[in-house]
Amino acid sequence: MRLARALLAGVVAALIVWGSAARATDLTLRFNDPEVKQLRAALDVFEQQNPGIHVKLEQMPWADVMPQTLRETAVGTGPDVMHIAFVWTKDLAAAGALLPLDKYIAADGGSSDYIAMDLATGRDGHAYAVPWTVDCWTMVYRTDLLTQAGVTAIPRTWEELRAASLKVHQVTGKIGFGFPAGSGATNTMWFIANYYWWNHGKALVVSKPGGGFGLGLDQSDIAGAIRYFADYLKQGDSPKSMLAINNWGDPAIIEAMASGEQAIAIMPPANFRQIVAAWRARNPNAGDPPLLSAVMPTELPTSVVNFGGRSLGINANTQHPDAAWKLVQFLKSKPIFTDYYTSQFPARKSMLSTLNFAPGMQGYAQQLQNARSWGPYSDGPVPINTMWNATGRAFGSAFIGELSVDQASEQLLSVIRKGLQ
């Protein structure tokens, strides 16, 4: 009898354990930024608040996320919640990788508070992601080097930038505007080239008045941009070694800006913060760093760049859409940005307006007000990856003399033209 009772109790206990295990929801979040430790700490809080939901955090290099997600979509797998670039949402949605989120967003107060919601909306008009973080690029200056070189004002136009960079190099012997000119499978020149074109009132891809998309540049526009940037390398104020730099946050740039070997750079805020931190580490007892962010040079009344940023999407193949949404809601809440993921700005107007930007960060605050979405670039038929790859290759080929500037411009145009067809 005792044995029977013990056996019965064992079976009941096993069933309870099995039942609770079966009720547990296992979610996977794929997060691709370096702040994994901080995010894990936040997820631990989420798990405490939501007993029964376990979140596995996985990381992947940004360069691999898009093709990997597309491969997973084809076989019905992948993480439940995805950290994706703004510009990927439309393509991922079209490929069937993302779950429409309209009903969740509507029940959560609508989409009006989100920045760049157009980028989170698919070509079919449904919302497929929630804008999570937002940033933009600006110019970054070492004010002490500018003063030393006799540059009295922050450059406002591209020609002023050109002159300032050259003057810094000629007077101080330091690097003027050191930009990442590498072209091996990265999108650095893609951003820089577009800022140049946009701030000359042009764009590579535009919406046609009658519908559809077309080229917004001709061969001379592209050649003009290539010649402009090639001149920095030719004159030496951006050293030829920059041809080996493929990332705007490369340690070579961060280090040169922090140490005062370079006067001007271009980058998003996370990298600017790295420079400031590196400068403070070198000068622990000094006051404010001689570092300043300022809006992109422009020939227009206001300087324009793109909204950079990341969204959160839910996998169309998830078995737990409601739990996944719960996780998304938690991740976009204010404490995440104040306590854990502090290197990024939230992509919500209500939160962004309450942020205090440090004095050196005012350029970012100003630039964010005039940032635009990629618009026709991401709405159009040419994959963003194809465009950045072709742009980087064209600029790189011309920089190293593999192709003439005209040949390189024509090559880029032909790729975009073919994609638009």
Partner: protein, 306 residues
């Protein structure tokens, strides 16, 4: 005429052999023939990574026409055949032979350095390619790299050299990384071949008055030639299809200066999302290597026969 009993036995043998071979044949069909056939089919479609579920539409030989008619295609072929394959295979064979001779030499034995040298040789080979490229990228870095610092310190250059971004140095730098990582394969294979040369042959040649160069040329080299030929063929296959070294070192840049067929497969498939076009390049690579292998084996066969 075969007796009925023997015929039955032969048939039973045949069934037995077929049954025994069936698992291997099935594995071959599932893991080699099916993917190859699928790849050929994909190359005839407009399959896109964006529409994997829907599949691609048949477009005939358009992907091949596009690839072969492209302005850059033959430059990519040249990069693959000459820089990536021919140069790096020849350098590895020559250096591998030199190192094998050194390791096989009596002098090294006398100095009790043979074991140490063999161990040292294993280090690059034991290093995964991704680590090898990362280490060399750091060494060759224009600002922080040890090589540039050394060159500047020695006064051999006034400005840092962007080894992996300068057209004059990028291919030699890639070849250097490949050679460093893989030369032990050649060295150890050739060392084994050298150790199989009968000592009496060299001693007889020496007694006849031949010097070490003549002994190597007329005694050692002919003896190890079959090994060299097989090694060269295998290294050609491994290198021609190699993606890792170029992609990790330069990403096919600067511009498209170091683009090779394997990186082109990746770029078309996973950057442009055009899997059909990517598959076509893959088929072209397979045909090129198949043709090379066939010709090589024929020449090799003739040499061995003669």
């Amino acid at each position: 005429m075969m007796a009925p009993a023997r015929r039955r036995t032969a048939r039973a043998d045949q069934v037995f052999v077929t049954l025994m071979l069936a698992p291997s044949l099935l594995i071959l069909a599932a893991f080699y023939l099916y993917p190859m056939a699928s790849n050929v089919w994909f190359s005839l479609t407009d399959l896109s990574l964006m529409k994997l579920r829907q599949g691609g539409a048949y477009i005939g030989l358009a992907n091949y026409a596009d690839a072969l008619g492209g302005a850059d295609f033959w430059r990519v072929v040249w990069n693959t055949a000459f820089w990536l394959t021919a140069v790096s295979v020849v350098v590895r064979l020559v250096l591998g032979m030199a190192l094998a001779l050194l390791l096989n030499s009596a002098a090294l034995l006398r100095l009790r350095l043979r074991t140490l040298m063999r161990l040292a040789l294993l280090v690059p080979w034991a290093t995964p390619p991704i680590v090898a490229v990362a280490v060399w990228r750091w060494l060759l870095h224009p600002q922080a790299g040890g090589i540039n610092r050394a060159l500047l310190w020695l006064g051999l250059t006034r400005h840092p050299i962007a080894f992996l971004a300068d057209t004059a140095t990028v291919w030699p730098a890639i070849v250097l990384i490949m050679v460093w990582n893989t030369v032990p394969v050649a060295t150890l294979t050739l060392l084994a071949a050298l150790q199989s040369v009968p000592r009496e042959l060299s001693e007889a040649a020496a007694l006849d008055g031949a010097g070490s160069v003549r002994i190597f040329r007329h005694v050692t080299l002919p003896h190890i030639m079959p090994t060299i030929m097989i090694l060269a063929m295998l290294m050609t296959f491994w290198t021609f299809n190699n993606f890792v070294y170029v992609w990790l070192a330069t990403g096919a840049g600067p511009g498209r200066y170091t683009d090779v067929l394997a990186t082109e497969v990746y770029l078309r498939g996973f950057v442009d999302f055009n899997l059909g076009s990517s598959a076509a390049i893959g088929v072209i690579m397979a045909v090129a290597m198949g043709t090379f292998g066939l010709l090589y084996v024929r020449v090799l066969g003739r040499r061995v026969a003669s």
